[in-house]
């Protein structure tokens, strides 16, 4: 049980505990930043596993996403700051059972694994091969990710801004009838 294992289990405990607290706190801002703490713990674990780039990339990407998450949760949730206790739960029993079954099933699967044991050589270069992979054989993944992100951007703009193609989207943005005489029923 070297100190590396000790740190790993500490980070695992942090990740799981903050993950659980996310659904237990009343304040939405605390919930978002607890989830960020869970992601940072996972990022640190990735760093310990040798993924020098992915660890910090996870931390910085999740910091941004949890900031946006906090903004939206406060914008839409009732009682956003948890001044009154937050009771926003339904089908609680089912959820607990599903969670436990998922955990049990996946961990049983993980324990029964006997994959080849080829650990990453210590101090190996990891970012350059990823770069070559990205620009070489997996270039299709790279460009299709770009197109997917473009599709996401367009979809986000269309869905979230009020200006629909034919007038405000919440008034239905109904296209004008070809023959103005025919009254379009809303």
């Amino acid at each position: 049980m070297s100190w590396a294992d000790g740190v790993f289990w500490l980070l695992a405990a942090v990740a799981l505990l903050t993950g659980w607290r996310v659904f237990r706190t009343d304040s939405m801002v605390r919930a978002s930043f607890l989830l960020l703490a869970s992601f940072i713990a996972v990022g640190a674990m990735m760093l310990m596993l040798g993924a020098a780039y992915l660890g910090f990339a996870t931390i910085f990407m999740m910091a941004v996403e949890m900031m946006v998450m906090a903004l939206f949760m406060v914008m839409f949730m009732m009682n956003p700051a948890g001044l009154n206790p937050m009771v926003m739960v339904h089908q609680h029993g089912l959820a607990i059972v599903a969670g436990l079954v998922t955990f049990a099933g996946l961990s049983a699967f993980a324990l029964s694994l006997d994959l080849p044991d080829r650990p990453l050589p210590g101090g190996a270069e990891v970012i350059a091969p990823l770069g070559r992979e990205l620009l070489g054989p997996s270039m299709l993944v790279f460009e299709s990710a770009g197109v997917t992100l473009l599709a996401t951007m367009l979809c986000v703009v269309i869905l979230s801004s009020r200006s629909g193609r034919f007038g405000p989207s919440d008034l239905g943005s109904v296209p004008p009838a070809v023959d103005p005489a025919i009254e379009e029923d809303p």
Binding site: M48, M75, R132, L134, L149, M153, V157, S161
Partner: protein, 115 residues
């Protein structure tokens, strides 16, 4: 690995130092009720300030998350760029072009303003 430990130590210890300074209770009393009223230029606040705050740049933040993914792809590209050369520039140019279409469309739809 030791660099990571050093970074973590620096972050935690300096943060802890400031946390200690920030919460040392000094001064006669923790604050009477009229002292704790938030400052609004002398007016009485009607409600709590915490609210479902209607931020006006939400489309920008959503587009930002999608655009942020591009950074994730650009860092490894930057490392091998000098090695691969013009082909890498062309690929990243196309990638950037694709995502700039998204930003141009967002700008045309007016999401970079207060909604």
């Amino acid at each position: 690995m030791t660099a990571l430990i050093a970074l973590a130590l620096i972050l935690l210890l300096s943060g802890g130092l400031m946390l200690l300074l920030a919460q040392v209770e000094v001064g006669p009393m923790p604050g009477s009720e009229p002292q704790k009223v938030p400052f609004l230029g002398g007016s009485e606040p009607a409600t709590h300030a915490w609210q479902r705050f209607h931020l006006r740049y939400y489309p920008m933040t959503l587009l930002f998350i999608a655009f942020e993914m591009e950074m994730m792809f650009m860092y490894p590209w930057a490392v091998v760029y000098a090695e691969i050369g013009a082909k890498a520039l062309a690929e990243m140019g196309m990638f950037l072009l694709i995502l700039s279409i998204g930003i141009f469309y967002g700008w045309r739809e007016g999401i970079f303003r207060w909604q």
